[in-house]
Amino acid sequence: MNQQPQNDLTRQGVVLTTVEDLYNWGRKNSLWPLQFGLACCAIEMIAASMARFDIARFGAEVFRPSPRQADLMIVSGTITKKMAPQVVRLFNQMPEPKYVIAMGSCAISGGPFRDGYNVLQGIDLYLPVDIYIPGCPPRPEALLEGLIHLQQKIAGQRLTGPERPRHLDANAPGEFPVPEFGPHDLVGPRLHEDA
């Protein structure tokens, strides 16, 4: 349908949409994050969920304590190598469609602890990160902006075709390899090699 009659209908109070838009509209406005914090960024995440910043305005206030009910993993803080397998396992236990926000320098790259012997150099080594939010820690507004960007990303996802997202593609992986403890470091396949 071309644009003009749709506008006429809109002026009459009739809304036309596609299944794809309706589906994405529903999904992007009901992202349920996993109730899970790693370090100081988690404090900002908690602040974002409280009255002053109120993440509920964007439909993402339902922090679920079980990965079975969560859509969004906010990796908020430093990921130690001891914690990395648990983070990946929790992500694997979430149902599709699922998204990852890397919140703060540590989750993106290891941040100030990048050269530490016990800190993972970014969660994107093991998880498919959708949104990176820089900051140390990012303020709650930054988290909200990251959430809005994620919503825009979801709104643009196609239902069919070769560019459809992972959760609609039967051949795309639903689980990501969980790293294991080796003698000196985490061992196991990574999504990319660190520079």
Partner: protein, 121 residues
């Protein structure tokens, strides 16, 4: 037309109202959203840790003995106290009924004693 027909129609509408979203969700999952089960996804939720040990533990059913002994001592006390408090005003029949009840519990105690459950090991 039957006077209660409209109730049947309402019931049917209510059923459709409840089942239609479930059916749509089921159809949607069937046609668009492929299932992706996996070993980690289907594992027990243990805060991201591997579940250990296995859930298949042997449960000692001998605990029923403790249950019986608890019943004998605890329930007996619970009933004996009001019995003693109201003893003066009771009729002979009520006394006999209570003694019969105590006898039943004492029987259980005798049984437990004879089986050697009361002995500390």
């Amino acid at each position: 037309m039957h006077p209660y027909l409209f109730l049947a129609i309402f019931c049917l509408a209510a059923l459709v109202f409840a089942l239609a979203p479930l059916a749509i969700a089921w159809l949607w999952a069937r046609f668009f959203s492929p299932r992706k089960p996996g070993a980690v996804k289907n594992a027990n939720y243990e805060c991201g840790l591997d579940a250990q040990p296995t859930g298949w533990v042997q449960f000692k059913f001998e605990y029923y003995l403790y249950g019986i002994i608890f019943l004998i001592f605890d329930v007996e006390t619970m009933f004996l106290l009001p019995f003693a408090a109201a003893f003066k005003g009771l009729s002979v029949a009520a006394c006999f009924a209570m003694l019969l009840f105590v006898l039943l519990l004492a029987e259980g105690l005798a049984w437990a004693w004879a089986r050697g459950i009361l002995a500390l090991k």
